[in-house]
């Protein structure tokens, strides 16, 4: 059973990690596309509209992959985590069903109109289509985060006669304090992915001296929105997440920080390798007393280390959790530095010609993906050994009759299909970037027909 449990976990981890590569970009881009469409309405500058169209094409490709890789997530609750579904389905099924009913219908209906219906809808109508696609995708994000937040901090439930978890307050489920802050933090992460991708492609165009006008629009939009998102990511949203973890999952905080022993004036570990067996952090590079200050705003506050908790309640992959958390925070700090410097250069009017900064913006593009993934790993590994924190252990949530052999079979199947998807996706995105936002520029006759038909 132990063996099957680990494969079930890997199955979900693999499919959800791959899936989230796509929504983090589309949720971020949806906002930026609304920004570009709004600029177009305000300034009447056709370049903003062309920019929006270019990004809509990138959006469309990512959205398609996001949709098809998202369907397995809902199914897996039933197929792989049947005991969890049986107990908690009456609660988390609410938010998952609401996602289908409220956001998927909205997104799928208006995405088609947004991508192909500009002529029919007119300028204002097309702005609305872009807006509704944004609304649908951000609503979907909320309902998923609310589901996860309930697993992190269950609320609004009672236990039935056979131990099944029954919903007792719809609003406590929907407006869980945890989910509000986790949502803000998650969406800012998605916006940063959108911003870094947009700025990177803009920087690429400027560096290669192509589509200069568009390169400037992209870099400017990416940096302006990105600097705000990067700062808000740290404070207040990241800070509040930390406080909630301190309050509701103190053992997770200790594991994330690699704090093995309870300490007053606990240091903040910047680097170091947790040695779980010997209960210490190797080669530590620490900021003295900083952890106490960040957590309680007091330099000498006492922080409970892992030794304050029974070992059976420790997260089961402490090193991976520790690294996920440190990678997330480290990258978040780098993003603030990059975006603030880029914004200052933009303000001084030097960004578009200062090649080293354009280079940095271009090569930073994989980093927000890594940071978002590391953030989710921190949340999910940190919740272990619980599936629903304090209520159900992960080991008790799996499907009792689905053995390791079958799970490996489908995991390998997903891996194969996702490799093919990745190659196709890279190829399509590369083609769009090569083709660029300008309709008349070096296009094949076939694409010309599209541009004419779409104009």
């Amino acid at each position: 059973m132990e063996q099957a449990l680990n494969v079930h976990r890997l199955h979900f981890a693999f499919t959800v990690t791959f899936h989230y590569i796509f929504p983090q970009l589309t949720m971020g881009l949806a906002l930026l596309i609304v920004y570009l469409k709004t600029k177009f309405l305000r300034t009447n500058d056709e370049r903003y509209n062309r920019s929006a169209k270019f990004w809509a094409r990138i959006f469309g490709i990512n959205f398609a992959v996001g949709v098809v890789t998202g369907i397995p997530m809902e199914f897996q609750f039933g197929t792989n985590w049947a005991e969890f579904s049986r107990s908690a389905g009456g609660v988390i099924g609410q938010t998952l069903a609401m996602e289908g009913v409220f956001s998927f219908f909205l997104e799928s209906s208006f995405l088609g109109l947004f991508l192909f219906g500009e002529k029919k809808l007119g300028r204002i109508g097309h702005w609305w289509a872009a807006f509704l696609v944004w609304l649908g995708s951000w609503l979907s994000g909320y309902l998923i985060v609310a589901t996860d937040a309930w697993m992190q901090r269950p609320t609004g439930y009672t236990l039935g006669p056979h131990g099944e978890i029954q919903l007792s307050s719809f609003w406590q489920l929907l407006i869980n304090k945890w989910s509000v802050w986790q949502y803000a933090h998650t969406m800012l992460g998605a916006v940063q992915t959108g911003c870094f991708v947009m700025a990177a492609i803009g920087a690429f165009y400027l560096l290669t001296d192509r589509h200069d006008d568009y390169g400037r629009i992209f870099v400017k939009a990416g940096v302006l929105v990105g600097v705000v998102a990067a700062l808000l990511q740290l404070f207040p949203t990241g800070d509040m997440q930390g406080k909630l973890i301190t309050q509701h999952q103190p053992v997770t905080l200790a594991a994330m920080e690699g704090l093995f022993h309870t300490q007053t004036g606990a240091p903040l570990a910047i680097l170091g390798q947790p040695d779980v067996q010997n209960r210490k952090l190797d080669n530590p590079l620490e900021f003295p007393r900083m952890l106490s200050f960040l957590t309680y705003r007091e330099w000498s506050a006492s922080i409970r280390g892992l030794d304050a908790f029974p070992e059976e309640d420790w997260p089961d992959m402490i090193p991976l959790l520790y690294y996920s958390y440190h990678v997330m925070v480290g990258l978040g700090t780098i993003f603030i530095a990059v975006m603030v410097i880029a914004a200052l250069l933009l303000w001084r009017g030097k960004l578009y010609t200062f090649r080293p900064m354009l280079w940095i913006l271009m090569i930073c593009v994989p980093l927000p993906y890594i940071a978002n993934t590391a953030g989710w790993m921190t949340a999910e590994l940190g919740r272990q050994p619980w599936l629903i924190y304090g209520l159900m252990r992960t080991a008790h949530g799996v499907s009792p009759r689905v053995g390791a052999g079958n799970v490996w079979f489908t995991l390998i199947g997903f891996m194969g299909i996702y490799v093919v998807l990745s190659v196709l996706w890279l190829f399509l995105i590369y083609r769009e970037i090569e083709q660029g936002p300008e309709p008349e520029d070096k296009r094949s006759p076939r694409e010309d027909a599209v541009a004419i038909a779409a104009d």
């Binding site: 098809v68 197929t79 995405l111």
Partner: protein
């Protein structure tokens, strides 16, 4: 409250079958009715802007099933583990083939997308039929409330059933035939020229197969699942459902000969609705019959607590009204025949 949700989930599944049914059918007949690239793009254009929204009904129905009947979701999904995973793979390949065909044009890629589109649609139709047949036939649930079915055992209806046996395969074939008919009347309605002509001919031909298989499967079902016979004899008003199916089926042939393509499509919808509601009526109050009737999951034993179901009724009604609004809006914008440019992309909304 449980029965209300039983009906609502059944309605959502029926809407899914009616809507996604025609685009699955369009995929299954892709090679039969469209020979050139131009014709194939007509088939894609006929479902292009709506297939994605149609598929959302599957997700929404799944989510609704999840919160209204968590025990059913847990038992059913883990018991049908392998076929469901294969359905997921097929849905992925199908979605990608439709979306990416518009982006990658080359003599190498286009046949690949066409083949993926057709084969995945075809297999999905068979799988969905077989899945429904499994529910009707009953699954090897035991006292734990769980079961696990391999893909097949010996293809017989014994103790150790697999997902595929002669009965479920037969229903799978019926589902394929019915969706081929449904897809053909849809594509017929949306297109012009040789594609529409081939669709009309195909409808008339496959109609005979649907009639024969429907009669055969109905007779077998009464034998295999005793609850069906019991329900129809206890509540004879239920015969309205099979009557709807028969009337719809007759209507398809009648309207196709009369060349009224819209009415033919609606007749096909009536047939599918009649068939599905007959099944639902026949198995109620069971939601997942067991081979050993003692362990069957019923509406009462599988439903969630009442508070959640009541709250759900409020937001569900509100949400479905909104969704219906979007669908009416999109389908209105997409009304009429699709126009495909001879050498360009297809703009369904700009016809």
């Amino acid at each position: 409250m449980g029965t209300v949700w039983f009906c609502l989930v059944a309605i959502m599944i029926a809407v899914y079958v009616l809507l996604d049914g025609f685009d699955l059918g369009a995929g299954a007949i892709h090679f039969l009715v469209a020979k050139t690239d131009y014709e194939r793009r007509q088939v894609f254009a006929s479902i292009g802007p709506v297939w994605d929204g149609n598929e959302v009904w599957l997700l929404a129905a799944g989510g609704t099933l999840y919160f209204a009947f968590p025990a059913l979701y847990a038992s059913g999904f883990s018991g049908f583990y392998l076929p469901l995973m294969m359905v997921l793979w097929l849905l992925i390949l199908r979605g990608i083939s439709i979306e990416f065909r518009n982006h990658v044009h080359s003599a190498v890629w286009e046949p690949v997308w066409d083949f993926l589109f057709c084969s995945s649609s075809l297999l999905l139709a068979v799988f969905f039929g077989a899945a429904l047949a499994n529910v009707v036939r009953g699954v090897p649930l035991d006292s734990s409330g769980y079961f696990f079915e391999p893909l097949w055992t010996n293809f017989a209806l014994g103790e150790e059933t697999g997902i595929l046996d002669w009965y479920t395969i037969l229903v799978g074939v019926l589902a394929l035939a019915a969706l081929v008919m449904h897809g053909a009347v849809w594509v017929h309605m949306k297109t012009t020229g040789p594609v529409a002509q081939r669709c009309a001919r195909l409808t008339r031909q496959v109609w005979w197969a649907v009639v024969a298989l429907t009669a055969l499967v109905t007779a077998l079902t009464f034998k295999i699942q005793p609850q069906v016979k019991e329900n129809f004899t206890t509540y004879p008003w239920g015969f309205i459902f099979p009557f709807l199916a028969v009337a719809g089926l007759a209507g398809v042939q009648f309207e196709i000969i009369k060349r009224d393509d819209r009415k033919a499509f609606f007749a096909s919808c009536a047939y599918l609705t009649g068939m599905l509601t007959s099944v639902v009526f026949g198995v109620y109050p069971m939601v997942l019959p067991a081979r050993n009737p003692v362990y069957s999951l019923t509406v009462a034993s599988a439903k969630a607590a009442d508070y959640g179901l009541k709250i759900g009724l409020i937001w569900w009604t509100f949400g479905i009204i909104l969704a219906t609004g979007y669908f009416v809006y999109v389908y209105r914008n997409f009304a009429g025949k699709v126009s495909v440019e001879k050498d360009g992309h297809d703009h369904a909304f700009e016809s």
